[in-house]
């Protein structure tokens, strides 16, 4: 994958650093959820860290559903030209 000529974004250590920053941000945001009083408009928002859970679930859900959709709609390139 990577070699000495590769750019910064291809090096495993920079990728690891980016992931660690993300993990740290996620942890801080969940901690903040318990410290800060959010304005609540609907009951579902009362779930602790609701937005975090929903964001993760929605994204994984979208991608997994799209993989399922691919089974249904994927055709070879040039399908319409034939």
């Amino acid at each position: 994958m990577s070699n000495d000529n590769s750019g910064w974004a291809d090096r495993p250590e920079s990728r690891r650093l980016i992931r660690r920053v993300l993990y740290a941000a996620c942890i801080l945001l969940v901690i903040a959820d318990f410290l800060v009083h959010r304005h609540i408009s609907t009951d579902i928002e009362r779930v602790p860290a609701f937005y975090a859970l929903y964001g993760f679930a929605a994204l994984v859900g979208v991608v997994m559903a799209a993989k399922g959709l691919r089974l249904l709609v994927k055709r070879d390139e040039g399908y319409y030209e034939r």
């Binding site: 609907t42 975090a52 993760f56 929605a58 799209a66």
Partner: protein
């Protein structure tokens, strides 16, 4: 004060002059048109209207109110940006079609009556078709025709609706129409086609990726935003739009995840963003309407920025498919950075423009107690992050290095992208710049602790979701493929059905022909076997004829003798 003229005028003049000029002079003229127009707009009074009576029709070709003025500003800045992006071209077709197209969008938002709107609506559709055809290849030729069919259908419905509406109400004024009569329903569908409503959305994903690197940037800025303007003017608070908008926001994100052509991904992304606008118009409160039109304003720049960055990649490498690209951040660092700014903006991170507009629609949904739709839109927001926020920059500029030779695009392209990025960040950091020109009276502050915290939580954990899928090998690979959408019905099923009907008719015709031929053969065969050999048709020897004449004469003689004896 500046002399007052119709805002279409500078664009029309520039289009004519562009036909006759070349090089830097044409560039200057094309840039001057939106610049002069914008300078003119800063001087016009809200409430200005020009009435005109033509063939007994009361027309208002030029009307300025806060809604039209906001879109007027938008289209002038957008036109400047897109013209700048296309200045390196030596292509009269694209320059002229582009400036006419931008001008017709301006004309449409200042139209005070439905007839004037219709005229600009048609120029908009026709001029933009030439931007699709400007790619001058087989794909764009076919896609341009399909694109034009949608645009013409929209125009025909608008004309039918406005005639019916005018005849029924006696007024052609373009004001709030509401969804009360079949006539206004026709007009709503006409607007809906150009806004990318469900089932009639595929012209966006079909034609936009088929156009030139620069043509697509023009296309993405105007048609759908004119439609959003028209919906906001004619149908605010129509409840059906809430659900149509929610569907538009959710449906395309699944297709965007698996689509390989990155400009087609952006086409789906565009429908998704339009969903937020249409939904806001459907809610119809001042806050929601402000959110809808503000999001339309911001979309021109962040979606324009993404389309421009993909246009730059296409211009430099000749490719836009995710499976062909990757690793360009090393050879195109400026383009990559600008693309990432667009990606962060469309994902609606705080301090970027989409955050300050989209959150207005989301807040309005909660204020109206529509929490099911709100959950759907929140779901769609996470989807945006995946396909536009991460997929676009990741597969083009990062991912595996495809080893394509590349360099930064021409300087005018970089300047146009920089202008868009400055607008994205500028409005994000100073939202009052945009809020000051919003047409409806609503007080809203995007930067309170709840909004910022919840949005960051949503986005950070959505990114975490992407990382999780990558690390566990569940993230779908980019595969060169075509994904079927509703358009399959008219691109495949309809021609197939027509071909089947034709084939069936051909079989029927062949059967009829065969039957007739058999009858004819039968008649001939029949006459051969019996007719020609029957007693009367047979050829007779002359001798027998003489014999029978002799017999006949002998009988006559005998009969004469007998009668004379008796006498």
């Amino acid at each position: 004060m500046a002399p007052d003229f119709h805002p279409f005028l500078p664009f029309a003049v520039a289009a004519l002059l562009a036909l006759a000029t070349r090089g830097w002079l044409r560039s200057a003229i094309l840039l001057a048109a939106p610049a002069v127009g914008l300078w003119h707009l800063t001087g016009v009074e809200v409430g200005t209207a020009t009435a005109l009576e033509l063939m007994n029709l009361e027309l208002v070709p030029y009307r300025v109110d806060r809604l039209s003025l906001m879109f007027g500003y938008l289209f002038h800045i957008g036109a400047f940006m897109t013209v700048l992006f296309s200045l390196h071209l030596r292509d009269t077709l694209q320059h002229v079609a582009g400036i006419v197209y931008a001008g017709s969008a301006v004309g449409a938002v200042f139209a005070g009556d439905l007839v004037t709107l219709f005229v600009f609506w048609e120029i908009l559709g026709l001029s933009s078709a030439f931007l699709v055809w400007a790619a001058r290849d087989e794909r764009s030729a076919a896609a341009g025709i399909r694109y034009l069919v949608y645009q013409v259908a929209s125009g025909v419905l608008l004309m039918a609706g406005l005639i019916w509406h005018g005849a029924a109400t006696g007024s052609l004024a373009f004001v709030e129409l509401g969804l009360g009569t079949p006539a206004t329903l026709l007009i709503l569908i006409a607007f809906g086609i150009k806004a990318g409503f469900p089932l009639v959305h595929n012209w966006i994903t079909d034609a936009y990726p088929a156009s030139t690197p620069t043509g697509t940037v023009f296309l993405c800025a105007f048609t759908t935003k004119v439609a959003v303007y028209a919906l906001a003017r004619g149908f605010p608070g129509v409840e059906a739009l809430i659900y149509i908008g929610a569907f538009m926001a959710c449906y395309p994100i699944f297709f965007a995840v698996i689509e390989n052509d990155l400009r087609r991904v952006l086409g789906y992304s565009m429908i998704n963003q339009l969903g937020f606008m249409v939904c806001g118009i459907g809610i119809g409160t001042s806050l929601a309407l402000n959110g809808a039109v503000a999001h339309a304003f911001n979309d021109v720049f962040f979606k324009g920025l993404l389309f421009m960055s993909m246009g730059a990649v296409l211009y430099v490498t000749g490719r836009t498919k995710a499976s062909d690209l990757g690793g360009l951040y090393r050879t195109m660092p400026i383009t990559a950075t600008l693309c990432v700014i667009g990606a962060i903006t469309i994902s609606a991170f705080p301090l970027f423009s989409a955050f300050v507009s989209k959150s207005m629609v989301m807040t309005a949904l909660l204020e109206e107690g529509r929490w099911v739709v709100w959950l759907a839109m929140l779901f769609a927001s996470a989807g945006v992050l995946e396909h536009a926020g991460i997929k676009i920059p990741y597969f083009a500029f990062f991912a595996h290095d495809a080893g394509l030779p590349a360099k930064e695009p021409p300087v005018n392209m970089l300047l146009a992208m920089t202008l868009a990025a400055v607008v994205c960040v500028g409005i994000g950091v100073f939202p009052t710049l945009l809020y000051g020109i919003l047409p409806y009276d609503a007080v809203y502050s995007p930067y309170d602790l709840t909004h910022v915290l919840t949005q960051l939580q949503l986005l950070a954990f959505a990114i975490l979701g992407v990382v999780f899928l990558h690390m566990t090998g569940r993230y779908p690979a980019e595969i060169p493929a075509v994904n079927l959408d509703v358009e399959w019905l008219w691109r495949k099923a309809l021609p197939w059905t027509a071909a089947q009907i034709c084939a069936a008719l051909a079989v029927l015709a062949a059967a009829l022909k065969g039957g007739l031929a058999a009858l004819r053969r039968e008649a001939i065969a029949h006459s051969d076997q019996r007719g020609l050999s029957s007693a009367l048709a047979r050829s007779w020897p002359t001798g027998s004829m003489v014999l029978w004449v002799g017999v006949f004469l002998a009988l006559m003689l005998i009969a004469g003798l007998l009668t004379s004896v008796n006498a």
